[in-house]
């Protein structure tokens, strides 16, 4: 396996594949800096004409700053909620004994098996009856909870050495204290893995935000961007600029937290 494959063949194949992976992004960036007439010239011109105005147009067509804020608030609050609530439940399932533990965990797991579309109509009804349609709570509240996070963190907690907790218990620490001062700090890699995954899924989520918030000022970036598609579907330079602006924050987070992202996925192997 190791030395037999000639390096040159290996790198040729990998470079070719990398080109396929990266070209769409490069073309997106180049197009976002072209005027419409340059972008639609035949044959295509490679070099853009520095038409930064496309980025300004995105802000004219969409309340982009507001939608950016909506998306960030949704992603961050959902992440905080899930990390807190899921870690609490995961600790109980991993370490505390109480009647009905197995059954309750089984019920939680069953939520994980159901395709999320089955939750949507009733969730929408709840939002509607609370008067929450077209509001930030609608984007955030159902996403504060997840069965996935409980499952992921329970696995992680089970792998932690119990000695420190035993010692703390002998010293008289209660479950709350053990959870907060011992388990959480030890479980940091697991918490970070969950956080980056929830952040990614929330930022990129389309269906739920699309359905609950139809007022442009309350939309997330994914829904706002999708709405541009309908009206301005031929102005590709503007669409490329908008899609770049909307996706770059998470790509940037990924570049910084690449190791945690990859660990999170390798550990859980579950995609949203």
């Amino acid at each position: 396996m190791r030395e037999r494959l000639p390096r040159i063949v290996l790198h040729t194949v990998l470079v070719a594949a990398s080109l396929v992976m990266v070209t769409p992004f490069v073309w997106q960036i180049l197009t976002s800096l072209k005027t419409l007439s340059t972008a639609t010239s035949v044959p295509p011109t490679l070099i853009p004409d520095g038409h930064w105005a496309n980025y300004g147009r995105v802000f004219d067509l969409l309340p982009f700053g507001t939608q950016f804020l909506n998306t960030a608030l949704m992603a961050v609050l959902r992440t905080l909620g899930q990390v807190l609530f899921c870690s609490m439940a995961a600790y109980a399932f991993a370490r505390l004994r109480f009647p009905g533990r197995q059954v309750l965990f089984g019920v939680f797991l069953s939520v994980l098996m159901v395709p999320p579309q089955l939750f949507i109509i009733p969730q929408y009804q709840i939002m509607s009856s609370l008067g929450w349609l077209n509001s930030l709570p609608a984007l955030i509240v159902p996403g504060l909870f997840s069965a996935f996070g409980v499952f992921l963190l329970r696995q992680f907690f089970l792998g932690l050495p119990p000695e420190l907790e035993e010692a703390a218990r002998i010293d008289g620490a209660g479950p709350l204290r053990i959870y907060w001062s011992i388990v959480l700090p030890l479980a940091r890699p697991g918490l970070v893995a969950l956080a980056v995954l929830v952040l990614l899924w929330s930022w990129n989520d389309l269906f739920w935000p699309l359905v609950v918030n139809t007022d442009p000022g309350k939309m997330t970036l994914s829904a706002g961007l999708a709405s541009l598609q309908g009206q301005y579907q031929t102005d590709y330079p503007v669409l490329m600029a908008g899609s770049l602006l909307a996706s770059v924050p998470v790509i940037a987070v990924f570049v910084f937290l690449q190791r945690q992202f990859i660990q999170g996925i390798a550990q859980t192997g579950i995609k949203g």
């Binding site: 609490m88 109509i121 990859i262």
Partner: protein, 298 residues
């Protein structure tokens, strides 16, 4: 001692209370409600009445449901090509060499990119008149079609986007799986004179098969729920119907969206997602059945 037991149990319930409440209200109860809604008919102002099996009867005779099912399943099956591709590239990347990190990042970029943005970029690449793909094809004398508006090519074009955006995710899981294979196996095989290809087929693939099984189960479940990419490519409502390739692209979840939130036929929409649940359960069960034939557990 007994008091400790009770205290511990109470703490246990306290710790799971917030999420239990949240899951019950927003997830568990809704599943039951959706199941119930699938037996109801919705009026124009949101009220609903029991209609028995009527929605399911309509479902069976609805040509749009049939098309959406065929498209969704075809997309799912064709999309499985991402698995052998990911195994191949994971095998190439599973070694110490310069640039591994960069290659891995390139494969992974589409995984973290917003699907709405991905779909927009590919729409542009696929554009019949000005798209990069048709330009490159024209250099070798091929007159490319209008990929996503041509009923003959649209579904395949969609599969390419799906594979492009999921291969990096699969690759990461396979890399983790490969790194868990003990190096001694390869050393022993080398001593016995087995070359790299033989080692790949005799050691790597069999030991990776549980990972591959897992990835295929997860990919099938994910593909069956395809929505974002198609929604951006076709739009919805009248705009979507204007695309001649729409009948070859429409998916089950898109149909659900349309019935639930565009035409407000929510009872019928509930029946559509119950059908989706059934398909997911059946296809997952089939995969568990078939695993005996190809998955090796060490």
């Amino acid at each position: 001692m007994r008091k400790d037991r009770v205290t511990e149990a109470l703490w246990g319930y306290a710790f799971i209370a917030p999420i239990a409440l949240g899951l019950a209200i927003f997830y568990l109860w809704p599943v039951l409600q959706t199941a119930y809604f699938s037996f109801t008919e919705w009026g124009a102002f949101g009220g609903h009445t029991w209609s028995g099996l009527e929605n399911y009867r309509r479902l069976v005779g609805d040509p749009e449901v049939g098309r959406a099912l065929v498209n969704t399943i075809a997309y799912t099956v064709l999309g499985l090509i991402a698995i052998p591709l990911a195994i191949l590239f994971a095998a190439l990347l599973n070694r110490k060499m310069r640039g591994v990190g960069a290659y891995r990042t390139f494969f992974f970029l589409p995984v973290v990119t917003m699907p709405v943005a991905v779909a927009m970029v590919w729409r542009w690449l696929y554009n019949g008149d000005y798209g990069l793909i048709n330009y490159v094809l024209s250099l070798v004398g091929i007159d490319g079609p209008n990929w996503i508006a041509d009923p003959k090519t649209a579904l395949y074009a969609l599969v390419v986007i799906g594979v492009w955006s999921s291969i990096g995710y699969n690759l990461i899981i396979f890399l983790a799986g490969m790194q868990a294979i003990p190096a001694e196996y390869y050393e022993a095989a080398s001593i016995d004179g087995a070359g790299p290809v033989r080692q790949f087929f005799r050691i790597t693939l069999p030991l990776l098969s549980p990972t591959a099984f897992f990835v295929s189960v997860v990919s099938v479940i994910g593909s069956l729920q395809l929505f974002d990419l198609v929604f951006v490519i076709t739009g919805s409502g009248a705009a979507a119907r204007a695309n001649p390739a729409y009948p070859r692209l429409q998916t089950v979840v898109q149909l659900f969206y349309d019935r639930a939130f565009v035409t407000n036929d929510r009872g019928y929409a509930a029946a559509v997602v119950m059908l989706l649940l059934l398909i997911i359960v059946v296809l997952t069960a089939i995969q568990f059945r078939l695993q005996r034939r190809w998955v090796h557990y060490a």
